[in-house]
Amino acid sequence: MSVQFNNIAIKVLIGSLVLSFAVAPLIATADGEVSLYSARKEKLIKPLLDKFTASTGISVNLVTGKADALLKRLEVEGKNSPADLFITTDAGRLHRAKVAGVLQKVESEVLNKAIPSNLRDNDGMWFGISQRARPIMYVKSKVKPDELSTYEALADNKWKKRICIRGSGNIYNQSLVASMIANNGVEKTEAWAKKFVTNFARPPKGGDRDQIKAAAAGQCDIAIANTYYLGKMIHGKDEAQKKAADAVAIFWPNQEGRGAHVNVSGVAMTKSAKNKDNAKKLMEFLVSKASQQWYASSNHEYPVVADTQWSDTLTSWGKFKADQLNLSKLGELNGDAVKLMDRAGWK
């Protein structure tokens, strides 16, 4: 009787164990392989990794996930973590990883030479590999570019109910506000945010593409979004999105002053890294000319390496002056930015 039940239990147990092994890819990573935790989506990193493997013969293991969750995984796994590299979007997260003590310093002539110093960590803990800009996008039929000037000026009364932007839970907005705190201070930024919020055409919702679509559809006259979303809308298959993208144009704000807000996606070596040499090779590969061009053409991001050839899309948006703020600041001020937006009622 109980024997029979035990049989069931044992069958289930053995069955699931067999399944585990059948399903599980090799847990232990073979010698020389580079293991990567990436907060960049698979589609936006795997093609590069495949090229790396093809050219060097070094295989790469990949787990993708959300940045903070992966960072937590690095933290709890500690010195036994199988990850050699950590890739994430947003300098704030890279900074957080540095503070959490899960990264190690990398000394590389190649990296230091290729990447401008404001786009990498002062201590060599992380390196920007692509740049993303967050300018103002305006509806061509309703707004003249000379009506626009700076992010700060968007708090003006004349924009009442004319602006679309996503929620404050989003890291891009948090970084934008953090950059304003770094440049203007908390008090000024808070006063700005309180007025800026009253200019929203609707309660914030959706992603960056949604803001552009809403602007094109007539719900607002200005949208704030990262440029690569616009690029993807232009080159996507969805006719409605193409039409929406056609209706707006990019305005680079603060060109007289500090420049438009930019952020990076970056790579860092983990403290637990076991295959340092190959991991470093992969890091350097990511700032090679070919990789940098791939970012620009496939994801419409801006390369970090200065002399990289821009794609037609990037060229069509024009050259711009980018904020030279050291991006570590964005990480340090991120929490302050979130709380400031809460106080301002930015949902």
């Binding site: 989506k41 990949l62 709890v76 993807k232």
Partner: protein
């Protein structure tokens, strides 16, 4: 409680030499220890998260209290109330119609009504936003035809709290439907027939007999739906509604304060505790067992004409809006993107996902059987509380519970590694973390509530006299579970299996953070594309989740129907 019932219910011949006392002295420890150990292991992740309550509250908590907490609580409550109304209305009415009435296509509806379960809430939210949003095809068409602009006309706003209530209700009502239908089908026809011979109308019979009898099952379904509502992140975040879940993520990811985020999670768990108490209270108040010895085929009310149409229509509505329409939208997207999204890796994704879901369903239901039966054997407060805490994992946002799972596993791995290094100078590295084992553990913890609730409601319907009869004939407690309970609640066990299976198919946050290298599931693929705002590309994996989920749904529905003696 049930002991006193036994005495009255047991035939004299059995009760006079029931060896229960002797046996229960010999074996209780084994069961108590087993149940408590499993409950403790399953509770670990929740306890890891809950531990934050003992940390001091810092200035971020003050900030939460001052600016956000009231909104989180209000919105979460509105969502819960709204979803309750939605899932109860849709779930109970359709369950009653398909089990007790006869109308065109009834049999097909009985399983069609389960299908929305296979659609992840955030996917349905995306599809409806795509359709109904200001810049979507319907409103655009409307503006083109009428010449209106923004603000000239009223149109329901999908991305609102009302919209979220509708979206969540549409995919969560099957929990109520499933439980209520099983309960209606298992009810003895005798009670209903008695009410009818006493002159009750069908409607009266429904409200005065069937509904009260099915109430424990309905509340079980409701509490599952509400726990999932509380844990939902994708929908509320996309709709811009501040709830506990979005607050937890904001505090953790935005402010970078894991402790305060966990404290917020603990506060949310108080809501869940209230739900659990409600559920327990409802079951206590209404302890109904099947008393009828013979179960004859249900004589369904034959609905004709307008009544038949309305019944048909009432069943069509949730199926249409919860499944057909979103599935069509997904299918449309699939057609426009298939060549890019379907490749060789797509099939290994599907295979991975199915195997994981099957394994997790088997494990979670086996553990649920042990826990629920252990609870039935020994009515100890300690066991009850243990099982309740173990079930809390369902209501905690996936990423948070995943951290609760990751932490003890990594601690175990690292401690073992340190010990091995010290003793044998060998490094074992991480043995459990980042393996399929970790994933299966996570799924079991996360969906234990689903299986335990289903199994408990099934066990509750079996008269305790059955246990006594079995024991008196020399069966061990395990023998009773296996030879008496399992056959009697085949339908319930299958229900539990299916629910966990479908939940694992859809599961995202824990999979995302805990999975091994180079390993993806359909939900991960769908999420990666959707999070990159490539909704159309996400449609293929999303639709595949639905397809993989459908087959067991159909099989299950048949099993539930057949689980009732006399039902064809």
């Amino acid at each position: 409680m049930y002991r006193s019932q036994n005495i009255f219910a047991m035939p004299q011949a059995f009760s006079s030499h029931t060896p229960r006392k002797v046996v229960s002295f010999k074996t209780p420890n084994r069961w108590v220890v087993l149940t408590l150990t499993i409950a403790l292991i399953m509770s670990l992740p929740v306890l890891v998260v809950g531990n934050a309550i003992f940390e001091p509250f810092n200035e971020n908590w003050q900030h939460l209290k001052e600016f956000l907490l009231a909104e989180y609580i209000t919105n979460s409550l509105i969502l819960m109330v709204g979803v309750s109304v939605g899932v109860l209305t849709m779930g109970v009415i359709t369950a009653w119609l398909t089990s007790m009435c006869e109308f065109p296509l009834r049999r097909i509806f009985s399983w069609l009504l389960l299908l929305p379960l296979a659609i992840p809430a955030y996917i349905i939210a995306y599809t409806y936003t795509g359709l109904l949003d200001f810049s979507g095809p319907i409103q655009t068409q409307l503006r083109e035809l009428s010449g209106w602009g923004y603000g000239d006309y009223w149109f329901p706003e999908v991305r609102s709290i009302e919209g979220a209530i509708v979206m969540l209700s549409l995919v969560l009502y099957p929990y109520v439907y499933m439980m209520a239908r099983a309960a209606f089908l298992e009810q003895s026809v005798g009670a209903l027939e008695a009410s009818r011979t006493l002159g009750s109308s069908p409607l009266n019979g429904f409200f005065r007999v069937a509904l009260p009898l099915a109430r424990p099952a309905i509340i079980t379904g409701l509490s599952l739906a509400l726990m999932e509502t509380l844990a939902d992140f994708g929908t509320v975040q996309y709709f811009g509604i501040a709830t506990f879940t979005t607050g937890i993520f904001r505090t953790w990811f935005g402010v970078g304060d894991g402790t305060t985020a966990s404290q917020l999670a603990v506060m949310m768990l108080f809501f869940v505790f209230a739900l659990i108490l409600l559920e327990r209270w409802s079951r206590k108040r209404a302890k109904f067992h099947n008393t009828s010895q013979k179960q004859t085929a249900i004589k369904r009310f034959q609905l004709k004409g307008a009544k038949a149409f309305w019944a048909w229509f009432a069943c069509l509505l949730p199926v249409f809006f919860g499944f057909i329409l979103p599935a069509l939208q997904l299918l449309w997207w699939v057609f426009t993107t298939a060549e890019e999204t379907i490749d060789a890796s797509f099939f290994s994704l599907t295979f991975n996902t199915m195997l994981l879901a099957i394994a997790a369903a088997l494990i979670a239901v086996s553990i649920a059987l042990l826990l629920a039966y252990g609870k039935r054997l020994h009515h100890k407060p300690l066991i009850r509380t243990g099982v309740s805490i173990a079930s809390l994992g369902y209501a905690v946002p996936g990423t948070v519970i995943a951290v609760g799972i990751m932490t003890p596993l990594a601690f175990l791995d690292n401690s073992f590694d340190a010990w091995m290094r010290e003793t044998f100078d060998v490094s074992t590295g991480l043995l459990l973390s980042g393996t399929v084992f970790a994933l299966l553990f996570a799924y079991t913890v996360r969906f234990l509530a689903v299986s335990v609730n289903a199994i408990e409601s099934g066990l509750g319907k079996i008269k305790p006299t059955m246990d006594d009869a079995g024991r008196s004939m020399g069966l061990s407690p395990l023998g009773v579970l296996q030879q008496i309970h399992l056959p009697l609640m085949r339908g319930t066990v299958l229900t539990a299996l299916l629910l966990v299976f479908v939940d694992v198919l859809k599961e995202l946050p824990a999979t995302l953070i805990l999975r091994p290298f180079n390993f993806n599931t359909l939900a991960v693929r769908a999420h990666e594309l959707a999070a990159d705002e490539r909704l159309a590309d996400a449609a293929t994996p999303a639709l595949m989740i639905v397809l993989v989920g459908i087959l067991p749904v159909i099989l299950l529905s048949r099993a539930i129907s057949h689980s009732r003696a006399g039902e064809q």
